[in-house]
């Protein structure tokens, strides 16, 4: 049954232009960092640094702090918006399908698109590096670790955004929360007091040199726990709601 709902959800996306943000996000950051390394190579890579490490770190920081949380918010809003408009929930839930399947099919698709976007970024980094003729071996494991860490760190934000999108008809509210949280994260991550807020996790889980002395695994666990908690709360709220 879940599989059928998933393919129905997939079919709804045909004309939704959802590909636009999924492709735009990695392309933007790749172009920025390509320009950064092309023009300012000597000031970005200092003596004794490994160029590849710097290259991956530069991509990962902007990706995790600014882009991934907002992308998660936009994607969940887009997937849920098609039901909120024209009061489609009523028709959808009148069908012999479980609310649970609808809820989890939608969030599975959001996670899938985030994965695709990360994958595109990974491929793009390899391509961009080969155009730049970056010296040294390609550290595949480091690249995969960094990108998947960013995804795990975003899980908490994603479930919160998903919950907000399903709760409010107007996409303005989840988007407003998302941009305020993301920009505030730039300040929040500097202070140990505010490191429990979910918008900070995507940065704190990155295995980069700036995060030395921070227990990355702890924050990954924290992100997963907060994420699962919000997923369950959001689901329970949705399941018992009068639509």
């Amino acid at each position: 049954m879940f599989h059928n709902v998933l393919s129905a959800e997939w079919a709804k996306l045909r004309n939704n232009r959802i590909v636009f943000p999924v492709i735009l996000a990695p392309t933007l950051i790749l172009l920025l960092q390509y320009a950064n390394f092309k023009i300012r190579y000597t000031s970005v890579v200092k003596e004794g640094d490994v160029p590849w490490t710097i290259f991956i770190e530069q991509h990962a920081v902007i990706w995790a702090v600014l882009i991934l949380p907002i992308l998660a918010a936009v994607l969940s809003s887009m997937l849920i918006m098609s039901e909120n408009s024209d009061n489609n929930w009523k028709y959808l839930l009148a069908l012999p399908i479980k609310r649970r399947d609808v809820y989890f099919a939608k969030i599975t698709l959001v996670i899938f698109f985030l994965l695709v976007s990360s994958l595109l970024l990974g491929i793009g980094i390899l391509g961009s590096a080969s155009i730049l003729h970056l010296p040294g071996d390609i550290p595949y494991s480091q690249l995969i670790q960094t990108l998947s860490a960013a995804l795990i760190g975003t899980f908490a934000v994603l479930t919160i955004q998903f919950w907000l999108s399903i709760k409010f008809d107007n996409p303005g509210i989840p988007l407003a929360v998302s941009i305020c949280g993301t920009v505030a994260a730039i300040f929040l991550l500097q202070s140990a007091l505010t490191r429990w807020l979910p918008w900070v996790y995507p940065y704190l889980v990155l295995p980069i040199r700036l995060n030395e002395g921070i227990n990355i695994t702890w924050y990954m666990g924290q992100s997963m726990v907060v994420g699962l908690l919000c997923l369950i709360i959001g689901y329970r709220e949705f399941a018992h709601r009068d639509i």
């Binding site: 943000p21 920025l32 907002i70 936009v74």
Partner: protein
């Protein structure tokens, strides 16, 4: 219907929505974190003969001007347009004896007003933070002028986001473009090309003189913003006339 009545109608639609809350929370958030950061790293910031007021202002407005302001403008445009996109309200709206021009213009006026509200709150918040933190001499007049100019430099961004939000019911496109433009502006503002890029103007006008306003004079930014705003409005109006609901 006259423009005034359409404006009243649009205001009534927004009465129960929380769009104004975003415009109040966004600047207050930045004022709080900026002031907190300033107090925390005061020793580092105030080395040499640094002016405390400028450092405090820099902390508050840098990320507000570069990221949060353009992004909140985009979210607001999506919000205002979304009211009509959902339930296919455009069709009902167009069946009424309302001039299409007035709907577009009133939406833009409300958008400008909301950005103005957030500018006022930014000004009051910054002055309040400066008094609480105690940075000495506060240049009330200059800051007020800068905030006012910042409001005007937001106009082209605002008009563009409005067109995108009305044109595409899909929120991914206006928000994606805004995010791309804002993050690019982080790079461009630090280069010499900042004065040719609309998304750099708000932060360049807000950041204190010693750091910002590099080869960006007040008449220049006012002229370019107003000209661009008028052009985009004309394009938007022409498009809106042909919009198929």
């Amino acid at each position: 219907m006259t423009l005034g009545r359409v404006l009243m109608m649009e205001m009534m639609k927004l009465k129960r929505s929380y769009v104004w809350l975003l415009m109040c929370v966004a600047p207050l958030l930045m004022v709080t974190f900026g002031a907190y950061n300033f107090v925390r790293y005061q020793d580092v910031f105030l080395q040499g003969n640094a002016v405390p007021w400028e450092k405090l202002l820099g902390q508050i407005v840098t990320f507000y001007g570069l990221l949060l302001l353009p992004l909140s403008i985009a979210v607001m445009a999506v919000w205002l347009a979304r009211i009509e996109h959902s339930e296919n309200n455009w069709k009902y709206l167009f069946t009424m004896p309302v001039n299409l021009k007035s709907i577009y213009i009133t939406k833009t006026i409300i958008h400008i007003g909301l950005v103005g509200l957030s500018m006022v709150i930014l000004y009051i918040g910054t002055i309040g933070a400066a008094i609480i933190v105690g940075v000495g001499n506060i240049p009330y007049g200059t800051t007020a002028v800068n905030v006012l100019i910042c409001w005007i430099t937001c106009l082209p961004i605002l008009a563009l986001q409005m067109i995108l939000s009305i044109k595409f019911p899909n929120i991914g496109i206006p928000i994606g473009i805004s995010l791309a433009a804002s993050i690019t502006s982080v790079v461009i503002t630090n280069s010499a090309y900042g004065k040719y890029y609309f998304w750099s103007h708000p932060s360049l006008t807000l950041i204190p003189n010693s750091e910002g306003m590099r080869n960006l004079t007040i008449p220049y930014s006012l002229t370019i913003s107003l000209v661009a705003f008028s052009c985009i409005m004309v394009i938007g109006y022409r498009f809106f006339r042909k919009h198929e609901a």
